[in-house]
Subunit: 197 residues, 2 copies
DNA sequence: CACCGCATGTAACGTGTTACATGATTCA
DNA sequence: TGAATCATGTAACACGTTACATGCGGTG
């Protein structure tokens, strides 16, 4: 549900056409979330159907440009005014993965955490490198804001992974015995190859 | 793409039937992400179609139980072994919202940030209250892990929002003049009511 | 009996992705 | 001329949500 409102927001800066909306979106979010052009057009159709935008019939224009309607402007204002509630956010795949691994004795939770930690650290380094690069040539506000978001959330993920490790080490030796090889009934790794190396 | 693997993971603990999978999932994730029962059945059909699970024909059983196939076990092992890459995560609606507001002069970025901050702080308090409640009666590992994930990421969001404020205050007085009322061409709030109160 | 919890589905719809088709313009 | 980029779409499919239909069993 973010493309819909994102398009409305971009149209609030004046009429645009489909292709332009994609490049604008990717520019503002620093190519973090590449936007499929097909989706732009289908979303525009739906927005037009819902009376939030209208196609502009500009006499000699090769492009099919869209503009906000009053209803569209209202929807956009409502979007800005309403916080994104934590409860209605998409399920966090990583959290689910760790939760599932934690309840499955034959899964190696430690390995999962470490593999994830490595990957997230790499991403974090990429982000900080990007930030350095951008600090020199600074245009718009949007991309730095998105970049900060990525950095803060990657840092939090590292901290969380460390906290999971912490939990694990406290638990080890008590009731949770790490099955080293050949789980009794359900072998997640029949080939014998360690998963994370 | 997390329900699919989540179901595989739960089936790794032994055959289950649909309804059971839902309650298991919600129990492990502390009702954070309620799982629609309809989706469980459709997902199970797809998993069966893809040969990752098979329905068990247990003579006198009222329930339609499913078990992992070798292929399913392999898919699950691959899921655990592969980190969730940051690039392939869903678009962050909040980051997009702030990025869009930042590029739109007539949007009140400050108000958006503050409204969000209030909501996230409330959520954070709920989470810490939940943690206290759980520390006393402790069962499984899964829910505490998910809860920590929620807490760390809410904390990071607060920090990020503060960083955005910081950016704003540095910028104010330079090129970005906060339009107080009646934007020149695109009025996001024609009614005159302040958006965030 | 009427309602609730358990249990299994289906239909309609919104959103998102990938892939394909088509044509115009620009540039080496 | 041939390839890349610009530009507009459509089709097929996966995933997710909401709502509806159906039946069983227990309990007030």
């Amino acid at each position: 549900m973010s493309i819909r409102q994102g398009i409305l927001a971009m149209l609030a800066g004046g009429p645009r056409y489909g292709y332009q909306l994609r490049t604008d979106f990717e520019e503002r979010t620093g190519n973090t979330w590449p936007l499929n052009i097909g989706q732009v057009y289908t979303t525009l159709s739906r927005l037009e159907r819902d009376r939030l935008v209208i196609a502009i019939e500009a006499s000699d224009d090769t492009h099919r440009r869209y503009a906000l309607t009053d209803q569209g402007r209202a929807e956009l204002a409502a979007w800005f005014a309403t916080p994104v509630h934590r409860e209605e956010r998409p399920r966090d795949e990583l959290a689910i993965k760790l939760a599932m691994a934690a309840e499955l004795p034959e899964a190696d939770l430690h390995a999962v955490v470490q593999a994830q930690r490595t990957d997230t650290m790499r991403a974090l380094q990429d982000y900080t490198r990007l930030r350095r690069a951008h600090d020199e040539s600074s245009e718009g506000l949007a991309w730095p804001i998105v970049l900060d978001s990525l950095i803060f959330s990657a840092e939090a993920e590292i901290r969380w992974l460390d906290a999971c490790e912490e939990r694990l080490s406290h638990l080890d030796g008590s009731h949770r015995t790490p099955v080293s090889a050949g789980a009794p009934e359900v072998d997640l790794d029949p080939a014998g190859e360690g998963a994370a190396r």
